[in-house]
């Protein structure tokens, strides 16, 4: 059984402003992902989102679409991600892990079975980008039964009444999608983000994470001036894919984004 709250809580208590890296599990091979997880376990990283590749990722831009395709070709799947978490947990009991999956791989395994297996492997949180508040109840119940938390999303288009409910039902943190559009790097943050973040901070009962579009130390700094957690996905995934020495690249990029 995952000891979800405490693992994340301990981590969050270490410092206020932290990073949440996203990895596409199996991009480059599952063994590489396990090594990247070890590299990610450093001060200033609150949690890692471990992406389960899906064939039709409607919330993702070109970088994560391509990464998902590579990961599937390399044999990754929800089952493989669960096995990866289990293997990682045998050596590391401190780094909080969020399994980030589209709904279908979970539905195919069966909601109860999937969440039980995810929890037993040692993950802490589950994130599902196309399961909004309306559809989340059965997922939240199955998660709670297994000691997992479901992270809910808010967006610039979310109205205040929904925000209240999302703030009430999210676990671990509240993920604010920082802008309109899909995942992938933006040049600048701002605009939609500032207004949305003000509204979210007013009702949040958990730390707030901001994601979508963050790719530079300046972006992370911008988010950290306004929220606790900064999510970096596409920019990290693309770097690891391009790098000749991905472990060194991972270490260097995290250090640049979040000096220890």
């Amino acid at each position: 059984m995952a000891d979800s709250d405490s693992r994340l809580d301990r981590r969050l208590a270490e410092r206020d402003k932290q990073l949440v890296p996203y990895l596409m599990a199996g991009d480059g091979g599952l063994e590489w992902t396990r090594v990247f997880l070890e590299v990610c376990d450093r001060p200033g990283v609150a949690c890692v989102e471990l992406g389960v590749p899906f064939s039709d990722p409607i919330a993702d831009g070109p970088v994560l679409q391509a990464a998902a395709r590579r990961a599937i070709e390399a044999g990754s799947s929800l089952k493989a991600v669960i096995a990866l978490v289990e293997k990682f947990r045998r050596k590391n009991d401190t780094l909080p892990l969020a399994v980030f999956s589209y709904a279908n791989p979970i539905a195919k395994m069966g909601l109860e079975d999937a969440f039980k297996a995810i929890a037993e492997a040692g993950a802490d949180l589950v994130m599902m980008p196309e399961v909004p508040l309306e559809e989340s109840a059965p997922f939240r119940e199955a998660a709670a039964e297994n000691g997992l938390g479901v992270v809910l999303f808010a967006a610039p288009s979310t109205d205040n009444a929904r925000l209240m409910q999302i703030a009430e039902h999210t676990r671990g943190f509240l993920y604010l999608i920082g802008r309109y559009g899909v995942t992938g790097a933006s040049k600048e943050l701002g605009g939609d983000l500032d207004a949305a973040l003000n509204r979210v901070q007013a009702v949040a009962r958990t730390p707030v994470a901001v994601g979508f579009g963050l790719s530079t130390p300046e972006h992370v700094e911008y988010v950290h001036a306004r929220a606790d957690l900064a999510v970096v996905g596409s920019a990290l995934v693309e770097r690891l894919h391009q790098a000749e020495d991905p472990v060194a690249a991972c270490r260097a990029f995290l250090a640049r984004l979040m000096p220890e």
């Binding site: 064939s55 039709d56 909004p132 309306e134 967006a155 288009s157």
Partner: protein, 398 residues
């Protein structure tokens, strides 16, 4: 959401949070418009004076003599732009205007929905961008040119399998980037609520008309109402007219492609299972890891891995029955209908005709109403190439 997103176990709103507000806005506009006499009057006026409604029903004299089955066709192929798709694009186009949207975006497979959307956009003075898979753009070149002529921008989608499924994904992604000024005009009874209900509402004119027409002509109801099922909008349009008539058997015909091996067909009810794709829970073709499987059909309009959630409900309740016909059966029916009735139908619709022809023995003496959802102009090059192979296969058989 103010209305029920579910058809029993199927449907729902599996959309990114960014799209929930636009979906709620759309639902509110639809709930308001569907009871609004002014909106309904304008919709009806455009269907009559622009799209060409009502479409007739045609009795197939020679085919009936050949098969000993009384075959009737609901002639959606006679509509402007050549298929039933225009019913929905005019309806949603009017909704978009009502919501103050400036731009329509849509996905297209064969190009029929893209052309119908571009047409509605031109008619209503809206900007238009169509997402089309690179593979489909290649095999449906004339429709690509039509959309451009109608003033639409066409964005070619190279991602994934570069077909309809990927065009839908890309259109949804584009909608998340600008949901405030853009309306996503989804083309079938698919996607997150309220789309399956909205599209069914606008297409239900088919069944309403057809029911009145058969009663007037036959003096009663048909034994069977049949339609091809891709996403399933033409079938839902027909079926909705007869849901209250338990004596009318409803038959949906999926694409059996080259047989039921994985990747060779689009018969979701034959080898698929419940899953979540493009915003709703329904029957999908997927592998054991929940990855969506590639599909094949000779007709691009049926070549899709999921089926509308209302169909999943109708199948589970037993109200409708779902079967599948192969490419070969559809091609043979395409040719038969051309030669016996002088009607060149869409390869999609030919699947429903093929099912009737192949099951003539068990249907003997019964009256069957087929929704002829589209005309075959778009398919000529493709079908004639394929027909050569069917003919040679038949020669070997006899």
């Amino acid at each position: 959401m103010r209305s029920d997103p579910y058809f029993e176990l199927y449907g729902g709103v599996f959309a990114p949070e960014t799209l929930v507000a636009p979906l709620e806005e759309l639902e509110a506009a639809w709930l308001d418009a569907r009871d609004n006499p002014e909106f309904l009057g304008e919709f009806d006026r455009l269907l009559r004076t622009y799209a060409g409604r009502p479409t007739p029903i045609t009795f197939c004299q020679r085919l009936t003599e050949q098969l000993d089955v009384h075959v009737w066709l609901k002639r959606e192929d006679l509509l402007h732009t050549g298929a039933h798709k225009i019913n929905n694009t005019i309806g949603q186009g009017l909704l978009a205007k009502r919501m103050g949207k400036e731009r329509l975006i849509a996905e297209t497979g064969a190009g029929q929905h893209g052309v119908a959307t571009a047409t509605a956009a031109a008619l209503l003075g809206l900007e238009c961008r169509i997402y089309m898979g690179a593979v489909d753009a290649q095999r449906q070149r004339p429709n690509l040119e039509r959309m451009k002529l109608l003033g639409a921008e066409v964005e070619i989608v190279e991602a994934g399998t570069a077909t309809l499924k990927d065009a839908i994904s890309e259109a949804m992604r584009a909608w998340t980037a600008d949901p405030v000024s853009t309306h996503y005009l989804l083309g079938s009874v698919l996607g997150p609520h309220p789309f399956p209900n909205i599209v069914a509402d606008f297409q239900s004119v088919i069944g309403r008309e057809a029911r009145a027409q058969v009663i007037e002509t036959l003096g009663g109801l048909p034994h069977v109402a049949a339609a091809c099922v891709g996403g399933g909008s033409n079938a839902i349009g027909l079926f909705r007219g007869f849901l209250g008539d338990p004596g009318v058997k409803l038959v949906g015909v999926e694409a059996g492609g080259r047989g039921l091996a994985a990747g060779e067909h689009a018969a979701r009810f034959a080898t698929g299972s419940p899953g979540v794709l493009h915003g709703c829970c329904t029957y999908v073709l997927q592998d054991e890891d929940g990855q969506i499987q590639p599909t094949h059909s000779v007709s691009a309009g049926l070549d899709y891995a999921a089926v509308g959630p209302e169909h999943a409900m109708l199948r589970e309740s037993g109200r409708a029955r779902y079967v599948h016909e192969t490419d070969q059966s559809a091609l043979a029916a395409f040719r038969t209908l051309a030669r016996t009735e002088g009607i060149i139908c869409a390869l999609e619709s030919a699947h429903a005709v093929g099912w009737v022809i192949r099951n003539a023995e068990s249907l003997a003496g019964q009256s069957v109403l087929i929704n002829l959802s589209g005309r075959g102009d778009k398919d000529l090059d493709h079908a004639i190439g394929q027909l050569g192979r069917v003919l040679s296969a038949e020669t070997k058989e006899f």
